[in-house]
Symmetry: C2
Subunit: 344 residues, 2 copies
Amino acid sequence: MREARERGDRVRRVRMIDVANSLGLSRATVSLVMRDSPLVSAATRTAVLAEAERLGYIYNQAAANLRTQRNDLVGLVMPDVMNPFVAEVSLGVQEVLGELGFFVVIANTVDRLDLQRQILQSLVEHRAAGVVSIPALTSAADHFTGLRRSGLPTVLLLRHIDGVELPFVGTDEVAIGRLGAEHLTTVHGCRRVAYFGGDPLASPRVRRLDSFRRAVGEAGADWDATWSEPVEATAEAAYRRAAELLAAGPPPDGLLCHSDNVAYGVARALRLGTPDAASCAVLGIDDLRQSAMWNPSISSIATEPVELGRVCGRVLLGEMGMPVEGSRTPPRPEVHARASCGCH
Amino acid sequence: MREARERGDRVRRVRMIDVANSLGLSRATVSLVMRDSPLVSAATRTAVLAEAERLGYIYNQAAANLRTQRNDLVGLVMPDVMNPFVAEVSLGVQEVLGELGFFVVIANTVDRLDLQRQILQSLVEHRAAGVVSIPALTSAADHFTGLRRSGLPTVLLLRHIDGVELPFVGTDEVAIGRLGAEHLTTVHGCRRVAYFGGDPLASPRVRRLDSFRRAVGEAGADWDATWSEPVEATAEAAYRRAAELLAAGPPPDGLLCHSDNVAYGVARALRLGTPDAASCAVLGIDDLRQSAMWNPSISSIATEPVELGRVCGRVLLGEMGMPVEGSRTPPRPEVHARASCGCH
DNA sequence: CCATTCATTTAGATCGATCTAAGGTCAGTA
DNA sequence: TACTGACCTTAGATCGATCTAAATGAATGG
């Protein structure tokens, strides 16, 4: 054992050439075996694999990456792994790309620009095969010029950044706004409504709000600006804000919430309030799996996050110049009506 | 522009030697600048950085990794990014390791052994700096022998696998079981209790169940075996099972649930059941942020997932032979009493 | 029996960085 | 003048794979 070890407990690495020498073959042949090339004979293949196993050979990706100028790493750069919606989207991306042998990893920016910059830089320097980025909230166009120049195939997901010439995949915010307005006004006859919560910088909020407000106006219902102020998109923050507003006066009779998480907090505040508060119709967005379990069960506009992730994965494959099968259009949102809007 | 491009639109890579030649310096000097070495003069440093910027130089990590036999990649291999508890743990791990310049990424096994094997193999071949693994449920000891042999610094998290000689970090399951039993029997005077839900293979369940059951016996309360059967640890599955059991007869008067997610489903079933069902005390485990928002608000045994992640990160640093500051002992669990057990 | 084809194998260059051991400059000192 | 040490810079070997173009040997065909 002595000569096999050096520098303490560190084992001397076994390389392709060691496997080759041990069998009287060349590195090239061993390399072909490792890459499952059809060029080598079956006999050689089994001999090489057996010898590699016996010697404890471990393929060195760093060396291969250097030579081929390629890498199987695909980065999913997201601002919040705690958010069940984006977590679900990641499943779809992983499904599409993992199947083709890519090594899909998630990197968490925690919505911080400095971390986002560092992570994207790292992916560029590692010569990743591709990147899917849900931009941090405060991102500007020039945070992505480096990425663009590097030529690394990139897709922006969910949050659109004006002025960035990179492919974008997101939910159909216009449809979401319209669906929400229709459901609240036409189905439930709400006369005064608001869009509750979300960060003012988030592009989905801006677009939904616009479409929602227009559709509400067309239906002849009133717009409540106070209840439509931005609020951090967590259940706790939504609860606190809704409770404050309730203390100041009665709520609108219909609320489209920025996300199911926001709806949870709003529903709690309404339930603990006056009886007329409890009659306010609440509609979430995302339809998280938990929403059906809530009390009251939360009505929500479903956006099929997993399929959205698949679509995103396919668009990225297109960017990487690979053949793609399947839809590259985000799924159509639809209302899943439950108790919180008064449907059951 | 013509000579700068080749093969369609692909720009000829700029290398260190190009920067060096352009300034009449050697590669070595440029390399030192890129690594922020104190050996180079301030004048040379600024000149090199400016020229690198001008030429559009991008550092090649693959080449550096090959030469140094090192990599700043740390893999967090987990079975379910949708689980808010493990997502929160990941924040702690990332905090500790990210601060030291490691590139922390999350890889999702979806609790599948084949994907887990593939991901761990990939990390070994990439010569990652370290791995934190929450093993897939059906993992056996021999799924980790390859990892061990490779010498890649590894920490197992949350799920213990018998016979694996790798450092393990997890919540204090014995304390959780005891705390749960004490709260239900001593504080609320429950006479008949059960441990609800969780996968039979999950090591936390086995350990908690053991400790919980013993403490329950010592307190003189009865054990309900039917309500203690394993159930998939999702709110939906817990709801369905609890509803089934309720239809067959009255529930115990105290339930320790495998997780807050499970408690959500159980609480819903109890609330929709008979009045005596609603009086059953429910205690979750993990204390997710949402739990305070639930109706009824869910009492839970808090395990400080972020701090647990930090502890895990520190243990991994230790494995990598780096100096470590801070605690390497998991935080002590404590009961956060709310409405679901009858505290408010 | 030689030319041709096919299947398999290979030598040597190459990817782009870092490391080692040594070299050059220059000010201060004996 | 020669020596010393501090400071900065560098030539050449090296990491471990893949690629290109060519060699090898066996089988086939005329």
